[in-house]
Subunit: 296 residues, 2 copies
């Protein structure tokens, strides 16, 4: 079996980007073609198919960088809001402010860099903690006064050690009878479900006689879990082959996703790790991918 | 077959929340237990299992809301950054500023509300376009000067009609030889892949003789696609049963996800729709879920 997929570039960061003066290079695999051989999980052979057919590198034009910096609507203090977001999970990691130098440094270095209003100086997230945010892309909003640093964090972003800086839910506080309500990271749907499955695993281990739940049953019975994943995949396929309505497909995909996520939990694999695999598969050049496999 | 799942609350918005004076109610299905009967895609029977055993409603205490508003570190102009994020996809929809009144109105009304610095007045996103952002949760950051409105948009958020306000990639601009580079929404990994699959579908339809790719092959051959989804599900299960390493599980899940997403594309179903199904399943009360099914 051969799998050959051609994908558009998902943005990817360059490992070493500071370069001389006016000219900054980074890799630009515009188009990527992948061949997978079928020794399951053993070999993925990917090669880059670039427009020029060679190992093209794009040189960032300093004049163009200046034009972009000029296009930002800096406020009266010379600042714009800069939001760092995890490229795989979508989590908002932190929010700070950028001035012209901070944005330029981020674009060039691909490390999320902000302007500290309290210290009146630039700071690159991670310069102390080493938990850098490796920037894959930078987005400006329609008004050009708000910036997203879309990147991959090396570790927890918050100075408290939390994964992100957003762990205080207003409604949790309002609903809590006590002051010391448990902190809960802001999570979107997939990651809330992932957290719930993890909680069930802990309960299954610590409260074996507690209330049974479907998730716990699956966690405790690998044969059952395997048969459910297989069944849900079959049902999803059937919605296609039987031309069932969209709602059925969405519902069956939801079932498949949930049951697969229970399996991931048992294997101690996060959705983020899965997404990282997908991103790397579809953004790296073949050489990079091959080298990264040699290292692991 | 019976599927009974017990999940912790995923935050959910209340449809009508403005209420008298000091007391605001919203639904609080603390614990939810779901039973699915197996007439595939036909009946999902869910019931809420709340701590009190009854249809508990939580009344927001005005004094507590005030305490939260007091705890925010408003800047010299009385503002804090407010970021609206899609609860299902994680997309950052827009960023504005909130003052005390805007945050209070958001907490109470569950519609994302900001303070317009240009008009010096409150504005609720959607009051003109009707594309409200229905807020499921509100998060404060560690420094208490940055806010996330985690919600579900009724439609495109940007005044330009774009799904979000972030559609200008700095690196796209830098790499482009022309000025008029195609706009590209900021998308995290899963949604970049989804967009790429959509692109392949358009190519398959408009350029039937164009370069073949695995995605195009799958899009054009439902039998092949079905067999691949089944195969990848089997391989994922095998990593569990054979106790293969974590990396294999992540890789097989990535395969399953990708192939399932091609199937979703053929059925014109977005990942966001699937996540919405998951969220509703695990956050609604049984009655709400039953009623919503009757309507559709």
């Amino acid at each position: 079996m051969e799998v050959a997929a051609s994908f558009a570039r998902l943005s990817s960061p360059s490992p070493a980007l500071f370069s001389v003066m006016n000219c900054v290079k980074h890799s630009n695999p515009n188009r990527i073609k992948l061949s997978f051989s079928n020794s399951r999980c053993a070999s993925i052979c990917a090669f880059a198919e670039r427009s020029s057919g060679s190992n093209t590198e794009v040189f960032l034009d300093h004049a163009k960088v200046e034009t972009i910096l000029d296009s930002v609507k800096w406020d009266s203090k010379g600042l714009a809001v800069a939001i760092a977001q995890n490229i795989d999970t979508g989590s908002i990691l932190m929010q700070g402010f950028a001035n012209r130098d901070a944005l330029e440094k981020t674009i060039v270095s691909r490390k999320a860099t902000f302007y500290s209003r309290s210290r009146s100086s630039l700071w690159t997230k991670g310069e102390t903690s080493m938990n850098f945010i490796n920037v894959h892309d930078v987005y400006l909003d329609c008004d050009r006064d708000s910036i997203i640093y879309l990147g991959k964090p090396d570790g927890p972003t918050c100075h408290t050690g939390a994964e992100t800086c957003y762990y205080t839910s207003v409604y949790d506080v309002l609903e809590s009878s006590k002051e010391g309500k448990e902190e809960r990271l802001a999570k979107t749907t997939l990651y809330s479900l992932e957290a719930t499955i993890s909680k069930r695993k802990v309960e299954a281990e610590t409260l074996p006689n507690g209330k049974p739940s479907w998730t716990k049953k699956l966690l405790l019975d690998q044969e059952l879990l395997g048969s459910k994943v297989r069944e849900e995949a079959g049902e999803l396929i059937q919605t296609l082959l039987d031309n069932e309505d969209k709602g059925c497909t969405a519902s069956e995909m939801a079932d498949l996703l949930y049951h697969s996520m229970v399996l991931l939990n048992l294997k101690d694999v996060s959705i983020e790790e899965v997404l990282e695999v997908l991103r790397k598969r579809f953004s790296q050049s073949g050489l990079e991918e091959k080298n990264s496999r040699k290292k692991t």
